[in-house]
């Protein structure tokens, strides 16, 4: 979970990366984040595209001194995902019964079944913090910024989510 990891994005030096560089470095990260957040690969794919579309439109306003590209993109992705969650909730209420088939492999490529199952049991908020801190390797303040909470609250949320995940994995294994 090192913030200086080259995949996290560029340092806050003020140098503006090219758009292609940002896409090459951050596409996977944004996609992973949205997969974990939504629990739906197909939706995550659409939302990733929508995130980058929004990023294109506000590209002129992006200030690399204020946030790393990954943090900035995750903030946009979260806003896009929240809208998606709201529409999903409305859709579920309308249809009364949500009996959508969940594909077996959702959160990772060749991820063991018990872990996949445990991740599915977590709430989107718990998966979100795991995605930001574990998969995307954002540092505490950056992840907290994306989530709109304090760094302490983010740390607490992560430890609880990981603990739950491990407990559920053990239960499934046991």
């Amino acid at each position: 979970m090192n913030a200086a990891s080259p995949t996290v994005g560029l340092p806050r030096s003020g140098a503006l990366p090219s758009y292609d560089e940002v896409v090459a470095q951050q596409l996977d990260a944004v996609y992973r984040y949205l997969v974990y957040l939504t629990g739906d690969r197909s939706a995550a794919e659409d939302l990733t595209a929508e995130t980058f579309e929004k990023a294109f439109r506000s590209w002129r306003r992006f200030d690399p001194r204020r946030a790393a590209p990954r943090t900035w993109l995750c903030t946009i992705a979260r806003s896009v995902a929240v809208d998606w969650f709201r529409s999903e909730t409305r859709r579920r209420r309308r249809e009364e019964q949500y009996a959508r088939e969940q594909p077996l492999e959702q959160f990772g490529d060749d991820l063991p079944g018990p872990v996949e199952q445990a991740l599915r049991e977590l709430s989107p908020g718990e998966r979100e913090v795991i995605a930001l801190r574990v998969l995307l390797e954002l540092d505490g303040p950056s992840a907290a910024r994306v989530l709109g909470i304090s760094a302490t609250a983010c740390s607490t949320r992560l430890s609880r989510a990981l603990k739950r995940l491990e407990e559920m994995t053990d239960d499934v294994d046991g």
Binding site: D28, Y31, R32, A49, R60, V82, L111, P112, G125, L165
Partner: protein, 315 residues
Amino acid sequence: MSTVDLLRAHAPAAPERLQHRVLTMRPVGRQRPRVRPVLVLAGAVTLAMGAALVHGLTTSSQQTPHSFSSDAASSTVARAAKAPALESPATHAAGVAPAQNRLQHEDASIRVRVRDVGGATNAATKIAAHFGGYAQSVRYRTGISYLELRVPTARVKQALAQLADLGVLASQQISIEDLTNTLERQSAQIAQLRRRIAALNVALRDSALPEAQRVLLQIKLAESKRALAQRLHGRKGTLTAGATARISLVLTTQKQAAAATHRGRVGRMLHSAVGFLALEGIVLLFALIVASPFALALALLWLWRRRAVDRLLME
């Protein structure tokens, strides 16, 4: 392998089609430099200060055409030596001297530093009486005395000169208001009303006048007489104002007068600029007070939305 390592090792990768889809999009235009709030704030402060300075510069150079004022220099100036530094009121008054053949009201305010305020107060009332005037009001307390004197306009210069000689002149202001037009207007109205009254009297003498019309004319006559009385009273007041000048005299000890410090052009400019800045501050404070309920409502809305998102994601 720990759960964390497992998650990292099997993290999902974006499909090729998504990469292609995203790469076909390109940002439009060049990066626009971001305007920093600190710079905006600095600009606003500079603008406010600049406006205050400009206001100070413009107001410090303004002077009322019909008024003249001056302040005394240091308190140590000796009476004998003060003449070159501060001219006598009579000399100053010459600059705004009443025009011949015009009715003008003169109003003077002078502040004089004296050793003995009580004695100087008595002397001032005597000076007013000597020139045919009188003291309209005298307020005296330890160290300071306020006098309202009335002096015939024709002798006001001499009276001011003698009053200034009571001590060291600290400040003075002389203004002249022309009353000729007012007097002419009042005289014209009086003449018109007299003509009207005479005409009404003639009409009322006619014995063939119907009773109803007679009553109407009598009412008009009464109104005209009342208006004439008012105009005559007004003109008398105007003539009195033109005949007598008002002198507001403040007699202080040296200690009290020290408060009345000299303020030059730069001082006036700074004083005016500071006043303008204070006004800007009041306007800003008022705007903040007006905007604060809206800001509070927005903050509450933002908080509510954030909690709603948290609930949505933590279910």
